[in-house]
Symmetry: C2
Subunit: 194 residues, 2 copies
């Protein structure tokens, strides 16, 4: 960790702070403080704040791809894989209650700012969408796979927004259970048809 390049340290710190405080509300001074470098040193690594944002999005995209590959490695069955997606909500319930979903809040913020990188940020949703849709196809739901993927991501986003607004842990658990039940119904409908 300590021999991590300064550039990587900056990106990691920015990643965390953008999540906790939002992109606009995070200043260079904040990031510099966390990393323990001077403000000036900064511009040796990134020419502007937008460049740091792009680096953070790139890193998140890479991390997400890696996570999805890990799920594929761990579970051969599509429903088990999709369950992993749903369980993000339980596994990260503490940070979600405090700061919401990192993807959802970044997309909302950049959208409102009309920021040029908003489409890249939405690509994080796109990654999950494509991956989930493929698993729903494998589940025998080829005809409405993309619809189901979007529905599931949307449900998760709703849970994150509400958990953040109300700080209600029981609500998360309840909704996660409901989503697992929903997924079970998806699988059964597939089996009925085949």
């Amino acid at each position: 960790m300590s021999d991590e390049s300064t550039r990587d340290q900056i990106v990691n710190a920015a990643d965390r702070l953008f999540y906790e405080r939002g992109f606009e509300h995070t200043s260079f001074a904040d990031i510099a403080d966390v990393v323990g470098i001077s403000r000036g040193n900064f511009y040796h690594h990134f020419k502007s704040k937008d460049e740091i944002l792009n680096a953070v999005i790139e890193m998140r995209l890479a991390a997400t791809r890696e996570m999805l590959a890990g799920w594929e490695f761990d579970h051969p069955e599509p429903d088990e894989r999709i369950r992993r997606f749903i369980d993000i909500l339980s596994a990260n319930r503490a940070p979600i209650m405090r700061h919401g979903c990192p993807v959802g809040s970044l997309c909302s913020e950049l959208g409102r700012l009309g920021h040029p990188s908003r489409h890249e940020a939405a690509g994080l949703f796109g990654l999950f969408r494509t991956w989930l849709a493929r698993e729903f196809v494998r589940l025998g739901r080829a005809r409405d796979a993309d619809r189901l993927a979007l529905h599931l991501i949307g449900r998760s986003q709703g849970v994150a927004v509400m958990a953040n607004a109300f700080g209600d842990e029981k609500f998360i658990r309840r909704e996660v259970r409901a989503l697992h039940a929903w997924l079970a119904r998806c699988s059964q409908e597939q089996e009925k048809h085949s």
Copy 2:
């Protein structure tokens, strides 16, 4: 409209700009430009930006209460009233795709800023929650009325976040249909039990 008090004009302009650009990203200059007054004049009406925010939240709370009262006046049956809530998503699909849900995005932003008024903003959700729960009770679902209310608001929030991120109008229509179907099932389960 033109003989509206300057104070009201400020609150209305702030309300719109906070929705479109977010609270932090809206400056006094922005609001002053819209209203057509000088920056200085501002402090005659509000001592700080936070005071404007509080006035905006108060106004939204009052407007929401009025809207809910209107729904109660228009429809005697609880399921018809709840349908009105779901239909907000269709009725406001254009601004939702552009800016998200005004309640959800304000709560998320104030939460991230750790702003003192974040709980007041969450009160907007609370208003819908209480109102919906009461209608679910009237629908014969006294035991899980609050659970259903939270679930419905959460679903709506998810739709808003996704519609905003992807700008997908078909998605909104599809989810609205799904929510109406869900509500119909809620009513049927009640009828079965009674």
